[in-house]
C-alpha cells in the first residue's frame, strides 16, 4: 500500500466513523386520540433476501429512523423473510414487523399484510384476496396504475381492503392520475375502502417516504390490520398531502402529524457518505 492508498483508506474510515457517530433520532412515541393509537405504517417494503437491499434488522432500523411505528415486509410471493423478522424482533423495542407478501401476478400486484402462510399467486385476484382473508390478513392493491388494471375486475376491487393511494411513483403525473382514477373506482365499489400510503422500498426512496396513518385500537400487528379492514386510515404522499377517510384525515391534521415525509439528506450524512464513497473510488483508481 502506498501513502495514497493509506490516505484513501483513512478517508473511507473517517466517513464510516463519522456516519456512525451521527445523532440518532429517538423512537417516535405514538400519540393517542379518542381511544385510538395514531400509528405511522408502511404496508409495502421489500427486504433481503429478496429484491430489497436491506436485511430485516437494517430495515427495521431505517423504519425507526423514518418515524414508523410498524411496517409490513412484503417480498414477492414469499413470507419467509417476514416471518423470520417477526420472530427475531418479537418483544424488542422498535417498529412492529407485520408479515406480508406482495402477491405478484401478471395482471395485478397485491400487498397483503397479516399473513401466516404464503398465498398462491397463480390464482386470480378475487381468489387471492379470499385466501388472504381466510388467514385473517388484509389486501391492498399495490401501485394500481393502468399497467395492472387488466387484473382488477369490479368483483375483486369490491373485495379489497385497501389500495395504494400514495406511492413514490406519483411524482410521474400519469401515475398520479392513474391512482386517482383507481381511487374513484374503488370508492364507488367499496365506500369504506382504506387509502394506503406505501414506499414500495427496494433500494431507493426510504421506508415511510409515503406512509399510512392508522387509528388502531391496540398497538400491535393485529391492531394495525384491523384498522385497515375497518377503513380507519389516511394515506400520506411525499409532499405531506393526506388522502382517505375524512375523519382520519381531520384527526391527523389536528394532531399536526402531516409534516412532509421526504427527508432531505442531512449535511452530516451527506458529508460522511461522500467521504466514504470518494475514499473507495480513490482506492480503486489511484
Amino acid at each position: 500500500m502506498t501513502r495514497g492508498h493509506w490516505a484513501a483508506a483513512g478517508l473511507v474510515a473517517a466517513g464510516l466513523v463519522a456516519g456512525s457517530l451521527s445523532p440518532r433520532p429517538p423512537l417516535r412515541e405514538p400519540i393517542r386520540a379518542g381511544g385510538f393509537w395514531i400509528l405511522a405504517v408502511d404496508f409495502h417494503v421489500h427486504g433481503f433476501p429478496g429484491d430489497g437491499a436491506l436485511a430485516p434488522w437494517l430495515l427495521r432500523d431505517e423504519a425507526a429512523r423514518a418515524g414508523l411505528d410498524a411496517f409490513a415486509l412484503t417480498n414477492h410471493n414469499r413470507v419467509s423473510t417476514a416471518r423470520a423478522a417477526r420472530r427475531l424482533f418479537a418483544g424488542t423495542p422498535g417498529p412492529i414487523v407485520i408479515v406480508g407478501q406482495e402477491i405478484t401476478a401478471r395482471g395485478f400486484h397485491i400487498a397483503a399484510a397479516g399473513l401466516e402462510e404464503r398465498v398462491d399467486w397463480t390464482q386470480g385476484a378475487a381468489a387471492a384476496i379470499r385466501a388472504v382473508h381466510a388467514q385473517g390478513g388484509v389486501t391492498i392493491a399495490a401501485h394500481p396504475g393502468r399497467d395492472y388494471w387488466q387484473g382488477w375486475d369490479d368483483a375483486s376491487v369490491a373485495l379489497l381492503d385497501g389500495f395504494e393511494r400514495a406511492h413514490p411513483s406519483m411524482t410521474q403525473p400519469e401515475r398520479a392520475a392513474d391512482y386517482a382514477a383507481f381511487a374513484a373506482r374503488a370508492a364507488a365499489l367499496h365506500p369504506n375502502i382504506a387509502a394506503i400510503g406505501s414506499s414500495d422500498f427496494h433500494t431507493g426512496a426510504s421506508p415511510g417516504v409515503c406512509r399510512t396513518w392508522v387509528l388502531a385500537r391496540e398497538r400491535s400487528a393485529a391492531g394495525v390490520v384491523a384498522a385497515v379492514r375497518e377503513g380507519r386510515t389516511a394515506a400520506m404522499d411525499m409532499a405531506g398531502t393526506l388522502y382517505g377517510n375524512a375523519d382520519v384525515v381531520r384527526v391527523i391534521s389536528e394532531a399536526h402529524l402531516a409534516a412532509p415525509t421526504r427527508r432531505p439528506l442531512a449535511a452530516w450524512s451527506r458529508t460522511s457518505s461522500a467521504a466514504a464513497v470518494a475514499g473507495l473510488l480513490l482506492l480503486v483508481l489511484l
Partner: protein, 203 residues
C-alpha cells in the same frame, strides 16, 4: 498499442487494477510473470475491498447514509455475490492445467479485475450525495451492461494470459454462463420464483 495504454495509465499514476481494466492482456501477462505464488493476505485484501465497495455503495443508495453497522451488515448480507463470483471463477481456474501461477494467485488476479463493477457500484451513490437525488433506476440498470461486457472481455484476457488456455473464448462462455446462471437463480428467487419468471415471459 497495449504497451502504450499501460504507459499512459502509469503516467497518470493509476493502480495496476486500472491498468488491468484498460489493457488486460498485457497487464495480466505482466502480473502473472511477476509472481506465481499467491498470498492469502493479498486475496483477503481484494475481497475486503470488494465487500467495502458493495456495502458502501448499497448503503448510500438505499439509505443516504453510512455507518460501520450499516455497511458491515449490507456487506455481510450480499457477500454471497462474491461467493457466486468465486464459484464461477473456481470452475475455470481449478481445471486449467497450463496455468503458470498457483490457484490462489489466479484467484487473486481475477479479483483484481473488479474495476468495472466497482465503478458501477460507486458512481450512482456519488451522484446521489452530490446531487441530492437518485440517478434514474432505468439508467443505472442500463449502465450495468457496461461492466457485464467489460468483465467478459477481462475474463477472455485472463483465460489467455493467466490460465494459458488455447480456448479462451470457450472458457469465457463457460464462466459467464455459470456466473449469470447463478445470478439469475437469485433474481428468480427474489422476483417470486421461476414459475413467475416463466409466466412473465409467456411460458
Amino acid at each position: 498499442m497495449n504497451e502504450a495504454r499501460v504507459n499512459l495509465w502509469r503516467t497518470m499514476a493509476m493502480t495496476a487494477d486500472v491498468e488491468l481494466a484498460f489493457a488486460p492482456a498485457v497487464t495480466f501477462e505482466r502480473l502473472a510473470r511477476a509472481r506465481a505464488e499467491g498470498r492469502v493476505t493479498a486475496l483477503a485484501g481484494r475481497l475486503l475491498l470488494a465487500l467495502a465497495v458493495l456495502g458502501t455503495g448499497v448503503a448510500v443508495s438505499a439509505t443516504g447514509r453510512v455507518s460501520v453497522e450499516l455497511v458491515a451488515g449490507i456487506a455481510l448480507s450480499w457477500s454471497f455475490a462474491l461467493l457466486v463470483q468465486a464459484a464461477a471463477a473456481a470452475l475455470v481456474i481449478l481445471p486449467a492445467r497450463a496455468r503458470t501461477v498457483t490457484a490462489l494467485r489466479a484467484f487473486e488476479l481475477w479479483f483484481q479485475a473488479h474495476v468495472p463493477w466497482s465503478l458501477w457500484l460507486l458512481l450512482p451513490p456519488l451522484y446521489f450525495v452530490a446531487a441530492g437525488r437518485h440517478a434514474p433506476d432505468g439508467a443505472v440498470l442500463a449502465a450495468a451492461l457496461v461492466p457485464v461486457v467489460w468483465t467478459a472481455l477481462l475474463m477472455r484476457a485472463f483465460a489467455r494470459r493467466v490460465l494459458r488456455s488455447p480456448r479462451a473464448e470457450i472458457v469465457t462462455v463457460v464462466h459467464q454462463t455459470v456466473l449469470w446462471g447463478l445470478t439469475l437463480c437469485y433474481f428468480a428467487f427474489a422476483m417470486g420464483g421461476w414459475d413467475r419468471v416463466l409466466a412473465e415471459v409467456g411460458l
